[in-house]
Symmetry: C2
Subunit: 194 residues, 2 copies
């Protein structure tokens, strides 16, 4: 992963397709978006993220995601575009956030900290600056970090009750806060790791 | 545009589909990508960018782009999703970078400065920090700024000869530098304007 800084804690990114909400605030399973896989894995690869987990409990969606990955890792896609292959090799498909947590625990023997993101969360949040200082670049923190993003209209409120921290929303220079999840991931990774 | 800071210079974003290069380094006209329009206009709206210009000399591509915009500004898309409409209202379609330059000159009576971006430019570049200090947040700078991005495998070298400045490439925490243009725009806007 050739991170410039070896004192950095391991960072993982998770994209949830359930439980997320639709325009009306109802809980849904969203569909996996091809460009989310590509854009986010490329951003993860750029910033030295360890793995990028795509989370959906839907078996059909898992199958489609697997086919996309196979094309770019083992098929024509990867032959034509090795850079893309390199990024997509970071991707893993999981059924739920607990499976992500358990996989990291199993691989690292460390219990990861789960950090949710939100475009408009009103409760207590941690700033990017403090997350860097106290966890990401803190040698005393031995726990890997999982940065968690929602698709559709965002993470369902139940997710926020089961995480260790919630990261401050991205504020631009206006009151408009409707970034795509692809752009939000890129901005957070740049703020935390550049 | 409710910018927090009224002392900021006007910033425009331009996405070029010609002249850009393909994998082999040959000059091409790339196709307009629906998600580029959406993601980049949303990022532009978030960070108070004045206009987002989509540049292609291809009449058919201009027509397709116009249809997408119409759907989201005047059609069902905008009715269902007013936030998306608000972002897409920033978009304008132009044939070339000179038309962008002339339009801004006509509207503001100021000659804009054109700033190219690149993932791997090796010549002299300006840092984001200096662009902010010397131009974007410098009251003595009266000239609007046009931040210019390339699609496909990047801007053709001829573009770099006709710009005022070239912005430093985005470096993550690894040597991998293959971000999507959508993510690159978001990161630059965050670095410059957050």
């Amino acid at each position: 992963m050739n991170n410039k800084d070896s004192n950095i804690s391991d960072l993982y990114v998770t994209l949830l397709h359930y439980p997320v909400i639709n325009r009306e605030g109802n809980i849904i399973i969203s569909a996996v978006t091809n460009l989310d896989i590509h854009d986010i894995s490329r951003a993860c690869r750029t910033y030295g993220v360890k793995r990028f987990f795509i989370v959906t409990p839907d078996k059909e969606q898992q199958k489609i995601s697997k086919e996309i990955l196979d094309y770019w890792i083992y098929g024509k896609g990867g032959q034509l575009n090795p850079d893309r292959k390199e990024a997509l090799q970071l991707v893993e498909i999981k059924s739920d956030i607990d499976s992500v947590r358990n996989e990291i625990l199993k691989k690292t023997s460390k219990i990861p900290l789960v950090i949710a993101t939100s475009a408009g969360y009103k409760g207590q949040v941690i700033s990017c600056q403090n997350l860097k200082r106290d966890f990401l670049f803190n040698k005393n923190n031995k726990r890997p970090l999982i940065l968690t993003f929602g698709t559709a209209f965002g993470l369902h409120e139940s997710v926020y009750k089961n995480v260790d921290m919630i990261l401050e929303p991205i504020k631009g220079s206006t009151t408009y806060n409707h970034l795509s999840v692809r752009c939000a991931v890129a901005i957070y990774l740049d703020r935390l790791l550049s």
